[in-house]
């Protein structure tokens, strides 16, 4: 039993309890406790990253490490069997990068929050709750546990935007809350359907008396239970329903006459129910990613949120959407995933292009960056839809790299906003003359984001595009022209960044006259260096040494794509042939 994952999740929560007990006036200690918790979390994340064995994931989908599984809730439902929820956490190649990212960005966010003055105690309490729930999302392997963290993320975010945000904060906060809640309700519907359909073979074996309680289940016993299940030989009373995601990934664990079983033949509105479940889940996570056309909450939320919260939103919360697609949607519904890959990839490319075009038209620097997030997260969808090794590696790499770079971008916007209380592009000119160091970091962030070789953004985009171009041969899921269109998005992103750079930073120094009286244009201070330098270094390091991350995720992704593709095609065939009967 290894407690490192549990400590990762609950360190911030513990710190939040400490802060709860501190008097409101003690601003410094409250900040110090938060920083300490974030540092501990980062330390643990880095430790986990080094201890994580990239080679151990070779046996495909079950390569979770540092697993901790405890019974949490369990009760009998009479003739419906048992209801079981586990505290089940683990890490594999998909989550390790995001855990590391959460650790790193968590600390940057605290440093960036250092000059918060309004209601300090409440702010840092919510901040810590947010960190706990994000980390919990990335580590949970039980759907219920995941959903708990997923939903709980909304609340701190709602208040952080709504109380500490900009002028239209209330509208933005409510829009954010409603949008993402509706998304999670879609997920809830499918979650209920899945758990009524899926059993935990090990626990069922215990219930049937094939195993002693606490005894490890051997592969033979598991497959015996699964075979008996498929032959309807287990009485309802002994079935143990589960929320475990690995169990849901196994088609043999579905109860034969349940609606989400591959052979159930259940249809609704002329679509197999499994496809509908996939679409609901996809919609739920696509809102979070966000993908066009459900992205409209993001620009509002970003523009109104205070800088550190924008950083967290872009760097971490959006990743939960992409992570959910990779961890939950595709492995559980590989059939529908392959069937709808053109939809997923198409929406990805649409986001890339539409986001970039919007970014090009924005007058507010923060909005520009918000739309660039939409554009870049489109690559995650595209990479995943290819289901090639390169594509999925690229999608995960993109999430990590975008986490680092978007954090930097939003910090950079925060710097100018702190000084001039404005961030309209046309109100500034020639900032390079007044703030040379700042301009250097802006250039680094912009170039990293637009995919300049040498930065992490380049690696991820390259991988996704290679995957996309290879997809027609490798998996036959996506047409090549889709990837060609996506390449056009790269061009656009170069355009909006370079144009913004040219307008704001080059030429003779000038700022809009009405801003001058409040503005104090000085170059970066120590605190800002402390945030920007590490991020720039990370973007460079992961751009030059991609194997640092790819070594950790590669084998998991190998097994992942193989499994999803194989099962996808097999199950798709079964579903379609059952329907024809």
């Amino acid at each position: 039993m290894d407690f490192i994952l549990t400590s990762l999740i609950f360190t911030p929560l513990l710190a939040a309890l400490v802060i709860l007990l501190l008097p409101v006036r003690l601003h410094k200690p409250i900040k110090a406790v938060t920083l300490l918790a974030a540092l501990v979390q980062m330390g643990l994340a880095i430790l986990l990253y080094f201890r994580f064995d990239g080679g151990a994931a070779a046996n495909g989908q079950m390569g979770y490490q540092f697993v901790q599984k405890l019974n949490w809730i369990g009760f009998s439902l009479g003739n419906l069997g048992r209801f079981q929820i586990d505290y089940f956490v683990g890490v594999d190649g998909v989550s390790i990068s995001l855990v590391l990212l959460t650790g790193l960005v968590g600390v940057i966010g605290v440093i960036s929050s250092w000059n918060i003055t309004k209601n300090v105690k409440g702010y840092f309490l919510l901040y810590l709750l947010l960190l706990t729930s994000v980390m919990g999302c990335f580590l949970a392997l039980d759907f219920f546990l995941f959903y708990l963290f997923f939903e709980f993320m909304l609340l701190p975010m709602y208040f952080l935007i709504g109380i500490w945000g900009g002028p239209k904060r209330e509208y933005a906060a409510i829009k954010f809350f409603i949008y993402t809640l509706v998304g999670s309700l879609f997920i809830l519907i499918v979650m209920i359907g899945l758990y009524t359909s899926v059993i935990d073979p090990a626990a069922t074996a215990v219930q049937m008396g094939l195993l002693e309680r606490g005894q490890a289940a051997s592969a033979e016993v598991l497959s015996q239970v699964q075979q008996m299940l498929q032959r309807n030989q287990i009485s309802n009373y002994n079935l143990v329903h589960t929320f475990s995601i690995p169990a849901m990934m196994e088609p043999a664990n579905f109860i034969p006459n349940s609606l989400l079983h591959v052979l159930s033949g259940s249809i609704l509105w002329d679509l197999p129910l499994r496809f509908i479940a996939f679409l609901l889940l996809f919609a739920g996570f696509a809102i979070k990613v966000p993908s066009v056309p459900v992205h409209t909450w993001l620009p509002d939320a970003h523009v109104e949120a205070p800088t550190p919260i924008s950083v967290l939103l872009a760097a971490l919360l959006l990743k939960v959407g992409g992570y959910g697609l990779i961890r939950i949607v595709y492995p559980i519904f590989p059939d529908a995933g392959t069937y709808f890959s053109i939809l997923v990839g198409g929406l990805g490319v649409l986001s890339i292009i539409y986001g970039a075009m919007n970014a090009l038209a924005m007058k507010d620097l923060k909005k520009l960056i918000a739309y660039s997030s939409v554009s870049h997260m489109g690559f995650v969808l595209l990479g995943l839809a290819t289901l090639t090794n390169e594509g999925v590696n690229g999608a995960i790499y993109m999430m990590f790299s975008h986490g680092i770079i978007s954090a930097m971008l939003f910090l950079v916007v925060g710097v100018i906003y702190d000084r001039a209380h404005d961030r309209m592009i046309h109100n500034f000119r020639g900032l390079a003359n007044a703030m040379p160091a700042y301009t250097a970091f802006v250039v680094v962030a912009f170039f990293a984001s637009l995919g300049m070789p040498g930065f992490s953004g380049f690696i991820s985009e390259l991988l996704v595009l290679v995957g996309g171009f290879g997809a027609p041969e490798a998996t036959g899921l996506l047409p090549r022209w889709l990837t060609v269109v996506a390449v056009f998005g790269l061009l656009l992103s170069a355009a909006y960044y370079l144009w913004a750079l040219q307008r704001m930073f080059f030429g003779k120094f000038w700022i809009f006259p009405e801003l001058r009286q409040n503005a104090l244009i000085t170059d970066l201070n120590t605190r800002e260096y402390l945030m920007l330098v590490p991020l720039a270094v990370l973007a460079l390091v992961f751009g030059i040494f991609p194997h640092l991350l790819l070594d950790k995720i590669g084998l998991t992704v190998n097994g992942y794509t193989e499994m999803v593709l194989l099962r996808g095609q097999e199950q798709l065939g079964l579903i379609l042939s059952t329907l024809q009967k």
């Binding site: 809730i73 009760f75 209601n119 909304l154 906060a173 409603i178 309700l185 009524t196």
Partner: protein
């Protein structure tokens, strides 16, 4: 003459033998009489004692029902009242609701200063709880009618506690009018059932058999008529019109009681009643109508709540929507939904008393009448603010609160029933029910929105009394515990239900 004597003595024997199972009701009736008698004395010392006396009685009944053991078996009392595990669990909830009401009333400044009818008020709470107990135990339609009327009459008077207030009078009048109307309709429907089956004992096999042989249309009409009366008690559409006015006009502890007690008892009565209609072929119409009623109740509750300007009316419609969720659960035939429903009712008890206590504090101490009046209160009183967020999220059904667990259980049952029956109505109810949670968030979140996002400088030196704080924590604690460990409660419910099977 002799035959009659034998018959009488048999009856007497049966009454004496079965009386043990009515011990909680007898205790309540005894305390009611005691309160009414003592209320005749003018001495202030005695008057001050009355609420505590009522509390003692309710507490006694609570302990009695928690411990159990007073009933001899599962023989119904004179074919009228059955003390099974469900009724016992219901009784526990009702006496808890009664206790909470009395405690809340003791915190209510205007009720405490009430010159006239203060003793009456507490006596009526006792009689209302007695009526609820009888509702939960009834297995005979006539007994149901009597029990419902007992509850209704007590409710009418309790609504009118502040007789001098215009809106209380309006509320009381509306309540009486709707109440008598639906009671009449219900009685009419019951007479149909007697004609169709030859028995009023609706939990018996004769009744179920009679229904299967009777004309489907007649059964449907009769069921609709009877359900009208039940729907009135649980404020389900289209018999919910009294709710907003009564919630607006009655004293807050009474509103809290109305939003829980009669709703819980009504659901238990409906639960027993619809058990006769599980046959999907014979009673497709009844099931369809129930489904439509659940859907309409959900829709009306949630969408009308969006336009409300006062917290009381908002919560009235929220209570309508909860009735919709409960009705949805009752349609998941064949899935053992009873324990899910009882779990939901328990959660509802704590959520509603918590939120209405908050409203009472806000109204009586901070003068909050409309939603706007909440502005800035959360910043000034973080405890108050955090508690209201907690209750409202539980009402919405978001984790990590028990409201979520309640909905999860109900929706699991509905999905399970859909799997086994393939009835598309269930899927529609499931999807609509879940998606309406999004709508629910939109109106519930208005209160935290004003509490935290809006500013108001006029409030000064607001305090929240320690006893209020304690009670708010008391109601909040189960909401957290039942989310993280729902099996604690569910095991107990299962245990109680299994006793009488």
């Amino acid at each position: 003459m002799n035959e009659q004597a034998v018959y009488l003595s048999d009856k007497l024997d049966a009454i004496i033998a079965g009386a043990g199972s009515l011990l909680p009701e007898l205790v309540l009736a005894g305390f009611f009489l005691l309160l009414v008698t003592l209320d005749l004395f003018k001495a202030q010392r005695i008057k001050r004692l009355l609420p505590w006396l009522a509390l003692t009685g309710l507490f006694w009944v609570l302990v009695l029902q928690v411990l159990g053991g007073y009933t001899s078996g599962d023989e119904p009392f004179l074919d009228l009242l059955l003390s099974d595990g469900m009724a016992r669990f219901g009784g526990i909830l009702f006496s808890a609701a009664g206790i909470f009401t009395v405690l809340m009333s003791l915190q209510h400044p205007r009720l405490e200063k009430l010159q006239e009818g203060r003793g009456e008020f507490y006596a009526l709470i006792l009689i209302l709880v007695l009526g609820l107990n009888l509702m939960a135990k009834s297995v005979n339609l006539l007994m149901v009618f009597l029990a419902i009327e007992l509850v209704s009459i007590a409710s009418y008077i309790l609504t009118l506690t502040f007789k001098q207030e215009k809106r209380a009078v309006e509320a009381g009048l509306k309540y009486v009018l709707y109440g008598t109307f639906s009671a009449g309709v219900m009685l009419y429907g019951m007479s149909f059932f007697y004609g169709l089956t030859g028995t009023l004992n609706y939990a018996s096999e004769d009744f179920a058999l009679g229904l299967l042989q009777a004309d489907t249309l007649l059964v449907t009409v009769a069921a609709v008529l009877v359900l009208a009366g039940f729907f009135f008690k649980i404020s389900a559409a289209p018999f919910h019109f009294w709710a907003p006015d009564v919630y607006q006009g009655a004293p807050m502890p009474v509103v809290a009681l109305f939003s829980t007690g009669p709703k819980m008892a009504g659901i238990l009565v409906i639960l027993r009643f619809v058990n006769n209609f599980t046959d999907a072929d014979a009673f497709a119409d009844v099931q369809l109508l129930l489904g439509i009623a659940a859907l309409v109740t959900l829709a009306i509750g949630n969408f009308t709540a969006l336009w409300q300007r006062t917290p009381r009316r908002l919560l009235a419609y929220s209570s309508v929507s909860h009735a919709g969720f409960l009705l949805t659960a009752l349609l998941a035939f064949g899935t053992g939904y009873t324990s899910s429903v009882l779990f939901y009712l328990t959660v509802l008890l704590f959520m509603n008393f918590g939120i209405f206590l908050l409203l009472q504090v806000a109204e009586e101490k901070y003068g909050v009448q409309t939603l706007e009046d909440f502005s800035g209160l959360g910043r000034l009183l973080p405890y108050f603010g955090v508690m209201s967020v907690l209750y409202l999220l539980s009402l919405t059904g978001l984790p990590p609160l028990a409201g979520f667990m309640g909905k999860l259980l109900i929706f699991s049952n509905v999905w399970e029933a859909y799997t086994s029956s393939g009835n598309p109505m269930l899927l529609v109810l499931l999807i609509i029910g879940i998606l309406l949670t999004g709508v629910a968030l939109f109106y519930y979140i208005k209160i935290p929105y004003y509490l935290f996002f809006k500013r108001n400088q006029s409030h000064e030196n607001l305090v929240i009394s320690p006893s209020d704080k304690l009670m708010l924590a008391l109601f909040a604690l189960p909401l957290l515990v039942f989310f993280f460990k729902p099996d604690l409660l569910l095991h107990w419910i299962e245990h109680l239900l299994a006793q009488t099977l």
